[in-house]
Subunit: 337 residues, 4 copies
Amino acid sequence: MIVVMKPTATEEELQRVLERVDALGLEAHLSSGESHTIIGLIGDTGRISRNAFEVMPGVERVVRIAEPFKLANREFHPKDTIIQVGDVTIGGDQIVIMAGPCSVESRSQLLEIAHAVKEAGAHILRGGAFKPRSSPYSFQGLGEEGLKYLAEAREIYGMPIITEVMAPEEVDLVASYADILQIGARNMQNYRLLQAVGKQDKPVFLKRGLSGTLQELLMSAEYVMANGNPNVMVVERGIRTYETYTRNTFDINAIPALKQLTHLPVIGDPSHGTGKWRLVAPVAKAAIAAGADGLMIEVHPRPAEAFSDGAQSLKPKRFQALMDDLRILTAALGRSL
Amino acid sequence: MIVVMKPTATEEELQRVLERVDALGLEAHLSSGESHTIIGLIGDTGRISRNAFEVMPGVERVVRIAEPFKLANREFHPKDTIIQVGDVTIGGDQIVIMAGPCSVESRSQLLEIAHAVKEAGAHILRGGAFKPRSSPYSFQGLGEEGLKYLAEAREIYGMPIITEVMAPEEVDLVASYADILQIGARNMQNYRLLQAVGKQDKPVFLKRGLSGTLQELLMSAEYVMANGNPNVMVVERGIRTYETYTRNTFDINAIPALKQLTHLPVIGDPSHGTGKWRLVAPVAKAAIAAGADGLMIEVHPRPAEAFSDGAQSLKPKRFQALMDDLRILTAALGRSL
Amino acid sequence: MIVVMKPTATEEELQRVLERVDALGLEAHLSSGESHTIIGLIGDTGRISRNAFEVMPGVERVVRIAEPFKLANREFHPKDTIIQVGDVTIGGDQIVIMAGPCSVESRSQLLEIAHAVKEAGAHILRGGAFKPRSSPYSFQGLGEEGLKYLAEAREIYGMPIITEVMAPEEVDLVASYADILQIGARNMQNYRLLQAVGKQDKPVFLKRGLSGTLQELLMSAEYVMANGNPNVMVVERGIRTYETYTRNTFDINAIPALKQLTHLPVIGDPSHGTGKWRLVAPVAKAAIAAGADGLMIEVHPRPAEAFSDGAQSLKPKRFQALMDDLRILTAALGRSL
Amino acid sequence: MIVVMKPTATEEELQRVLERVDALGLEAHLSSGESHTIIGLIGDTGRISRNAFEVMPGVERVVRIAEPFKLANREFHPKDTIIQVGDVTIGGDQIVIMAGPCSVESRSQLLEIAHAVKEAGAHILRGGAFKPRSSPYSFQGLGEEGLKYLAEAREIYGMPIITEVMAPEEVDLVASYADILQIGARNMQNYRLLQAVGKQDKPVFLKRGLSGTLQELLMSAEYVMANGNPNVMVVERGIRTYETYTRNTFDINAIPALKQLTHLPVIGDPSHGTGKWRLVAPVAKAAIAAGADGLMIEVHPRPAEAFSDGAQSLKPKRFQALMDDLRILTAALGRSL
């Protein structure tokens, strides 16, 4: 941590800062520049808030040097985390595709889509049973009934299943069915929920919030890990910007940046990242070209009748075509599908 | 709802849209312009998703006309909602000031601050007992112990208390102590939590999310109201933008916009809205001048030692000076403090 | 400037950084923390780019300490800049109101509006003769004809005039008519234009760009000042954010922040800052309550017929009512109108 | 254009809207829904501002249906625009790579880099002679001297050259040397400059502004085209968002969205789009996978000594490696390099 004094700071103000450094059990290194004096703090500054110095008279600003995430930090854990879910390996050479409907709408709808995505080569089946909806009047998901259909589809098609969990008290129920627990974008900083999924042992699929920074996303991963669960995937799913042509702005930079910052698997969600099915395939390919370890893609045979997210769902035939393209692309990139 | 056809749409594509309109029990009004045909849908379109038409061949876009919030909508409920909390009336002529520390740190800290803000004229005491923190390694609040100190301060100083609740399963506990339940910005779209506070009867202080739109904020208020609790305050606390000089960008437009869109009381939080104590007083005045019904302000006697948010906390003397200024300002605006 | 080494930096990498510091004629102060070594650079670092160190092996990041603006910086020039335009004093105790139509549409339109705003108590007449329009097919302004009408209105009503200049080669022409030159938001970083208005002596009204940071705005003011013209006003006119309910988000924090960062007069433009006439009056009051030195407000007697910006224009009667309110408000704030 | 009346609109207010429709020479189609009446306007609404109706009593909002750009619109011009620059074809099957230093710093620096990028397979040489810099104290470019070095490099290496032009009065000079004129992001809405490059015949490389929407970018292209120059490339170079880890957020969605909206060639600039050299190669590949027609990439042999943008410049060896990867990637995508 570095404390920068104002050009106008008095000797007395500087002295008081040095006393506080001492009181906190840290050591101070002073450098006096042309206009500013800066103080480097030596010791365990992780437990000190910037605020301890920022509000002192004569202080201009405080710069934190060390990244605040540790368990998720590649600097301290250079080796890639590999997550094994049944037969599927996430975070290795193989690109993992999770596909399925936004919402589980009925048994037949789910089985139809599960069949289609399995045929096309998807590895994991997705489907929402508990749905976070911005309107209280919208379809809220089938609940446990939806979980049962997902479990049935897993049996029939031999694919692990991933589904969202929305509240701490629902974690046990959802984890009793699902192979991977999804934390939705609006819950990226729902800390009670992060703690709850950290205390059980199903892998966690953690979506970046609509205005979450990369550092905040990794701090939320840290919450899960600090509670005991090391198996976290971090997911770029588009951020909220001023651009309204697309539903969100898929932050492609986040893919290689996260790969460099953390050892956790990095997944892209081009369905939410664009909100428009015509953009899903090109952005899916882009995410893979940028280094993503997998994709989550929404598929629906009759998008116009989907209970949610139809505008961004691919029809099975288009999903199949995307999988064919991805097979060639991943080979060119030295990975497999 | 309006469906806009592409200039290149075929007669057959148009026909298929009209058939769906019919199948959904709606009526269609056609207008054919120079390049686009548009179809106005007549009937109860609230239950239809845009998506039902957006993905059909030949459709360019779908425009929703009616605002999706009803209970919170001033158009249908022109009269201001007044919330009574003990002796304090929120949403009327009087400006209501809620003040106190970010975190309840100890019994003596809380009582000292409660005393100071009461002296200065604040109406309601704030203080966090359950703290949402971006790092799992930061101070997480005193929990129920903090609630007890708040209740004690209420007894001593005769001020209602407001504190945050973070999870559905903690609502009963927090509501058994607090007079107002605060939903934090990161939980604006934590729907389980909104449902839970909607099902009890303490008033709800609902903060706008970091990237929440005004419409989403009102939809979240609608969640609480649709679950049975009509007493909701909506709170502007700064949004996340590209500007990094301040912690957040206080959206002053939101104050009069919300007053026009909804009948619920509108509160401003200049502490989080700026993140810098030097900006708190000017922005507090601005919020009142723009029409806010109240303010929430963080106060701490020793900001440098605050467990959280010290950089944006006012010292009691500065808070007192702000209250003096507000007294003159509210009088000039025809309101009282 | 501070160079932060990576935890994994080798002694050799550190040595190479120190050699470069030496080669650049600077002195280095070393502090070695738990995980990072930091190097404080002493000397004239203003001329050095961060980049000189950022790309060196072993370097984690480079932090610039000193603000890059000097002439505009209140730290070095604590006294408020006062700009005198005819009888009007900008930047003193008096709040200055600039009002008029978005575009000068005709002689009679301008004179009608000039009469109305003068009656209401405005100090300076605004009106666009050269109009930056996002479509090449929209009305582009009356050009020099518009400037002549503005000059005529100045004669008749005794008010200084402000109008926009769009290109370096038009500066002489516009300056030969106008009392204040306006630089539009889209030209905040049009450096040739900033240089050109810096080389003449009419005061400059510099609007913040749609995504301009406070620091960039002040750097653009610095461009004008470094070219010889010290009379610059900086203007908050709303920034572009994700919120679409309003045309822009008026950054109220910017008003006190700019007042603290610079000695230049700070003006608010609630017309562009909101884009909706129903929000103009409350946000105008907010800007004054937050400490602005003046306002620019668009007025049009028949907004529906305005060639541009009708939706955000006040009718003369509403402008008059706002001026009445502002008279009471400014008195309560210890200023005058 | 569609006018939506408020639920509370009176018959008289509706009548006045219909009269205005008539006065403007348009025809009105009425649809009365449950709560809102909507009016479809038939006729040439392109010349009418939304504002003509938006401010009328009883009107809730006005929705524009037709895209305001025509010459740049793929709907009216389905065939891809192909731009021929010397031997290089832009907008066809071949991916075009433009590479070189951010700034032309000296004759030897430019020739060294030109040699390197030519060897690696780049098609066009970039280099800035007139540099827009946010500080008036930074290096502003070599000016005409830089143009001469670029022209010399073109002779030696047989590559067309692209360089930025900053002001209308410099267009003739720059166009007398350059093969392609670059409009920088900060000048995307410098309309005088757009008009000036529209009136000459060198192709134009138009960068998206930091907060430019896709529609605004295409309207700016329309400015150039409406002034007579059909040869415009539109360039995604990263937008400004709340994320600070990267210099900008490369909007990957923009690549396929622009390809669908316009027939103009679409180029990606991963150097500015990321601001970090470690992210340039992955994002370059992503842009190509998403369908870009070309890339602009900054290259410098000694980034730490670069006068500008060193942090985002690739060393020649890394650029060479990227070109090798792109060769495999473009083949897998059915294109060539």
